[in-house]
């Protein structure tokens, strides 16, 4: 009887396409919005995640997220190094100097100063040049998007110079750094060069990057560091979530996305549910005839579920295809680079669509189950 159910479903092309389109639209909107939301939230910590050399970040106890830094004392680095279980610890600086090109274009930039000796925290994904060239004096690595922002329409070229707060810097590499939350160029320099670009202040140390000694768990080491130094220590993962939570708490982003996601769910449920229910109502006489002929309620329920799941599978596949195409296209644009369709969004949306379809099916199944087969004798 499965083929009968499927032929009944596809027989009325207008309703069938309406149902599939409603589910596809709902899928596209849900996957689109949840993926963009998650990717934007991830961007709030993209510079943290880009550092793959160290696993623990140590900071001022009142620091809540990446963008918010309060300088540590130079002695804090030594104190952290003295904590049992610490393999090594290096300094990291974060500042926001103004970068200016020879043509006069300028942009506030995120400047990350990395340990002079080890270059821990250097960008590992390079588009042009190499991160080892940071050892050259007054050198910086700028990210690809930042380069395009500072030198629009110009070819990628190493050796170009910038003024960083009135100090000369030479571009020795172009990185493929993850996009930051704000569209600022991301630059890397050695720690000593970076603090020079910013101008001398009493303290410049933003973070201490720590690698645990072999066999020491990062999560356990963060507690030890906090106990010994009174500073705040977070694993990379924890620090990322700190940033995400900060933006969730303090911005309207989740509310805006939440409204769109809720509207997509409601519209998807109502349109898909109503279309499927109407489809069932239109076929009520046929269902009644099948009941009279001897099709059991269980079989009819199976037929309706098969119809609903088939429409859902097709709509979900189309919607996911559309979402994938959308992200494939937008992912090539500089401003939206790195925003991808997340498998978690696909999974979550699939679950939501199943719920939508279940609600739609329940209404239809109920209508068919209470249908008296004798009603088919009434003309």
């Amino acid at each position: 009887m499965n083929f009968v159910a499927l032929r009944m479903l596809t027989g009325d092309r207008a309703k069938y396409f309406g149902l599939v389109f409603a589910i596809a639209f709902c899928t596209f909107l849900l996957e689109n919005q949840t993926s963009i939301f998650a990717n934007i939230m991830r961007r709030t910590a993209s510079q943290v995640l880009d550092v793959t050399d160290a696993e623990i970040w140590v900071m001022d106890p009142r620091t809540e997220y990446w963008e918010q830094t309060k300088a540590l004392k130079e002695t804090d680095l030594t104190r952290v190094r003295g904590v049992p279980g610490v393999g090594w610890a290096v300094r990291l600086f974060k500042g926001t100097p103004v970068a200016r090109t020879e043509s006069g274009r300028f942009a506030v930039s995120t400047l990350i100063g990395i340990d002079d000796a080890t270059l821990t925290g250097a960008p590992r994904k390079m588009f042009m040049g190499s991160w080892q060239r940071l050892r050259q004096p007054d050198s910086v690595i700028v990210d690809k998007a930042g380069y395009v922002l500072l030198f629009p329409g110009e070819p990628f070229e190493l050796g170009r110079t910038l003024e960083m707060n009135d100090r000369r810097a030479t571009i020795v590499g172009i990185s493929d750094a993850s996009a930051p939350f704000a569209s600022l160029p991301v630059m890397h320099a050695r720690y000593s060069a970076a603090v020079n670009f910013l101008g001398r202040e009493r303290t410049q140390l933003s973070f201490v990057l720590v690698r645990p000694a072999p066999g020491v768990q990062p999560a356990a080491l963060t507690s030890t560091i906090e106990r010994h130094t009174g500073l705040r220590a977070r694993t990379t993962e924890e620090f990322m979530w700190d940033s995400v939570r900060y933006y969730l708490r303090n911005t309207g982003i989740p509310v805006n996305f939440g409204i769109t996601i809720a509207v997509a769910l409601v519209v998807g449920t109502v349109v898909a549910g109503q279309t499927f229910y109407l489809f069932t109502l239109d076929n009520l006489r046929q269902f009644g005839a099948l009941k009279a002929i001897g099709v059991s309620n269980l079989r009819l329920t199976g037929m309706i579920l098969l119809q609903a799941l088939s429409a859902a599978a097709l709509g979900f596949s189309l919607g996911t295809g559309l979402a994938a195409t959308f992200f494939e296209i937008t992912g090539r644009r500089m401003a939206t680079r790195g925003i991808v369709l997340l498998w978690q969004s696909v999974g979550l949306t699939g679950t939501a669509i199943l719920v939508v379809v279940a609600i739609a099916s329940v209404l239809s199944i109920r209508r068919v189950l209470v249908l008296e087969p004798a009603s088919v004798f009434r003309s």
Partner: protein, 262 residues
Amino acid sequence: MTEPADATLAVSCRQVRKHFGDGDQRIDALRGVDFDARLGELSFLVGPSGCGKTTLISVIAGLLDRTAGELRVLGSSIDDLPPRQRVLFRRRNLGFVFQQYNLLPALSAAENVAVPLLVAGEPRRTALDRAGALLHRLGLGSRTAALPATLSGGQQQRVAIARALVHEPRLVVCDEPTAALDHSNGEAVMELLAGSAVHPGRAVIVVTHDSRVFHHAHSIAHMDDGRIVSTTRAHDVPFPGPHPGVLGQRAPLPTTLSEASA
């Protein structure tokens, strides 16, 4: 002591009652119906609209529960069966022909005919072959792949009859099978029912208003106000097959209780 069951009876109703609703809303659709349908016969149920014909065949087919009385269908008390058994009983033993055909519009003629076989679990290929063969016998061999919407009313009803017969049921219940057809198509459909459905192990009950087809009947039970008010039989007609009938060339059936009594 219970009277032994008559083996020639496909359907036996004794004082069958059926009401809908309660109190002020109560409607007595059947008020003590005595009705028999014999195997090998085409039994007509006739009467004015609202007299209870459709309710009676719904009760006989196990689609509605009776309120009171005795009912035996093919030797079983169908509405005493548990729901699942009743569904199985209908699936195996009953065929239905509806006034509005109730064909599945998305299925071809052959697929529609194959539905009872598929419901019974027959493989799709075999079911379609059997359905095609039956349609061929009914003169629709060239339209097996046609969708119902592309068939004429007469052709659709022939498909519906094929659907009712394909699984070789012992009782075929037809509700106004000619109501939506012109005279010639109505005649053709009744000839099909009389010729294809009636054999010694099968009974056909036809509910109809259409006096033009009365001559096909072996017996005609006239209903009025929820009761059988008269039954007329054609005793002299040899079995099987269509015959001149009891009324085809005679006076029309009584249409009121008083006419029947007279």
